[in-house]
């Protein structure tokens, strides 16, 4: 419990707290996350390994999205958000005193539940992050590369000037992925990226995720257990604790996906993955 008072001690202790050797890109130890006085998440320690897909599963309201969004400080935008614990990204505490949340989000990209391209051209959507970072290279090449990685290039190469909003839902989501990977983030967070898509578009995104993990580390929240089994290398199962009158989420167990689904350590996990509650 030496790290319980992490906020305020950014770099010094973090070097010892997060061993970098075993390929852990993000090591988050979330003791407590509050929205105002509401305790949303407690006691969750998750590690996200380089080049793998980590899936967050659990019933609704279990805080899996909150955990994901706390990794790149998106929750800072929510009034009353407070975190006790730490999120180590390459050994540096993301919640350290001298850390700029804007900089964090440039290294840890995000794809959201609703496809949310900007109301600008397809090209400008992908170039958005590059321009933000004052990218001075061959813009068109980087945009093409990002669109290829997102498996969207062939469908849009002739209409890059069209609005991003003119695409179908599945294409929009792949456009958002292209936009996120264009700036070469080291981690990609995906918050239920397929829940607004039809099964065919969902399949395409899942195949894409498996391709993307060659270059990026991915963390994905999903309410779909089959999806977690199909794509995730590691699975973290969260549940809700209503014993204190609150609905507080916490990590039940995490491990290799096969183990979590086939031989879970906890009874609760077993009940959830066998579909006894959701």
């Amino acid at each position: 419990m030496t790290t319980a008072t992490m906020p305020g001690s950014p770099r010094g202790t973090s070097e010892t707290a997060a061993p970098k050797s075993n390929g852990v890109v993000i090591d988050c130890k979330l003791d407590q996350i509050y929205y105002g006085s509401f305790l949303a998440v407690r006691d969750s320690h998750v590690q996200i390994e380089k080049g793998k897909i980590t899936g967050f599963i659990g019933p609704s309201g279990c805080g899996k999205s909150t955990v994901l969004r706390s990794l790149n400080r998106m929750n800072d935008l929510i009034r009353g958000f407070r975190l006790e614990g730490h999120v180590h990204f390459h050994g540096q505490n993301v919640y350290g005193r001298n850390v700029d949340p804007v900089a964090v989000r440039r290294y840890i990209g995000m794809v959201f539940q609703q496809p949310n391209p900007f109301s600008m051209s397809i090209f400008d959507n992908v170039a958005f992050g590059l321009r933000l970072n004052r990218f001075k290279g061959a813009m068109a090449e980087r945009v093409e590369q990002a669109l290829r990685r997102a498996a969207l290039w062939d469908e849009v190469k002739d209409k890059l000037k069209n609005s991003g909003l003119s695409l179908s839902g599945g294409q929009q989501q792949r456009l958002c992925i292209a936009r996120a990977v264009a700036t070469e983030p080291s981690v990609l967070l995906m918050d239920e990226p397929c829940s607004a898509l039809d099964p065919i578009a969902t399949r395409r995104i899942e195949e894409l995720m498996i391709q993307l993990k060659q270059n990026y580390t991915i963390a994905i929240v999903t309410h779909n257990m089959q999806q977690a089994q199909r794509v995730a290398d590691t699975t973290a199962f969260f549940s809700v604790d209503i014993s204190q009158g609150n609905r507080t989420g916490y990590l039940v167990e995490s491990g290799p996906t096969r183990e979590v689904f086939e031989s879970p350590r906890e009874q609760l996990t077993k009940e959830y993955v066998s579909g006894q509650f959701s």
Partner: protein, 303 residues
């Protein structure tokens, strides 16, 4: 079971099945009368605009010529003349008003919608602008008279511009705030998620996305300001001369505007001036109409 038997079973104890229209049945009658009333009301609502336009076209259109756009207003018994200086004056005064009220209004809207929507300052500003929307326009004139005319010692285009800016500000602020708020939350999230600072979110995403709505508000405010007379009566006043002398703008002097020209000339006992007032009215209405149409086209194209 045949179809006939089926119907008999379905209707059960009802005596018979009648599907023909009965006009004088109470429900049908009430519906007919209400429809008639709605049609009538819609026609009556259209009458004022159409009749005003008709009258302007008939009475003002006959006097419309190239001369009225370029000539100076005639004096007493003089024939001919036009309202070139007033047209230019309206453009200049409204332009000054826009230069003041649009940047301030849009930035204030950014504060109200994004930076501090729940702060005391935002609540106070929102209340103030909402109150200002209902303010009689002559008060804006009184204000500008006291603040600008008395201070500078002269009636002038800037004084008129400031009066109109006070009138435009609430419209710009409130519509721009709504337009910025209407940008979906997921779009804001995307911008923050890409690593935008708050300023970048505003400039690169919120303002461009909300632009059609903002533009509509700005155009409405401009159109309204162009037609205002009362605030200009004792700020810009009137002038029979050009705003430019020898190619140099002379802003700090009384300035003619279309609205005030209409007001002045329509009360004169000279046929020539009254005709010019009609023509100026037509031109003013056309200006407002063009602004409205253009703003609509722009917002449709961007949306």
């Amino acid at each position: 079971m045949s179809a006939r038997e089926h119907v008999a079973v379905m209707t059960g104890e009802l005596p018979s099945t009648r599907l023909d229209r009965s006009t004088f049945e109470p429900r049908a009658l009430r519906s007919f009368l209400l429809t008639l009333g709605a049609w009538g009301a819609a026609i009556i609502a259209g009458v004022p605009l159409v009749s005003v336009l008709w009258m302007l076209i008939v009475r003002g259109g006959s006097r419309l010529s190239w001369e009225v756009f370029v000539a100076l207003p005639p004096a007493g018994f003089e024939m001919g003349g036009g309202f070139g200086n007033a047209l230019l004056g309206t453009v200049v005064v409204v332009g000054i008003a826009g230069l003041i009220s649009i940047p301030i209004g849009v930035l204030a809207a950014v504060f109200l919608a994004e930076l501090g929507p729940d702060r005391r300052l935002a609540q106070a500003a929102r209340f103030a602008t909402k109150t200002l929307t209902g303010m009689p326009s002559i008060l804006a004139g009184v204000f500008a008279y006291a603040v600008v005319v008395l201070l500078t010692g002269t009636y002038s285009a800037p004084a008129g511009g400031i009066a109109l800016a006070v009138l435009m500000l609430p419209t710009v602020v409130l519509t721009a705030e709504e337009a910025i708020k209407a940008v979906p939350k997921v779009t804001r999230d995307a911008a923050f998620g890409m690593g935008c600072t708050r300023t970048q979110v505003v400039w690169k995403v919120l303002l461009p996305t909300g632009m059609p709505g903002i533009l509509t508000g700005v155009m409405l405010a401009v159109a309204r300001a162009a037609g205002e007379t009362a605030p200009l009566l004792f700020t810009a006043l009137f002038s029979s001369y050009w705003l430019f002398e020898g190619g140099q703008p002379r802003l700090m002097q009384p300035t003619a505007t279309l609205a005030v020209l209409i007001y002045n000339f329509s009360g004169m006992p000279f046929e020539n001036q009254i005709e010019l007032a009609w023509a100026a009215s037509l031109v003013l209405v056309l200006m407002v109409l063009i602004i409205n149409v253009v703003s609509r086209l722009i917002s449709q194209r961007r949306a």
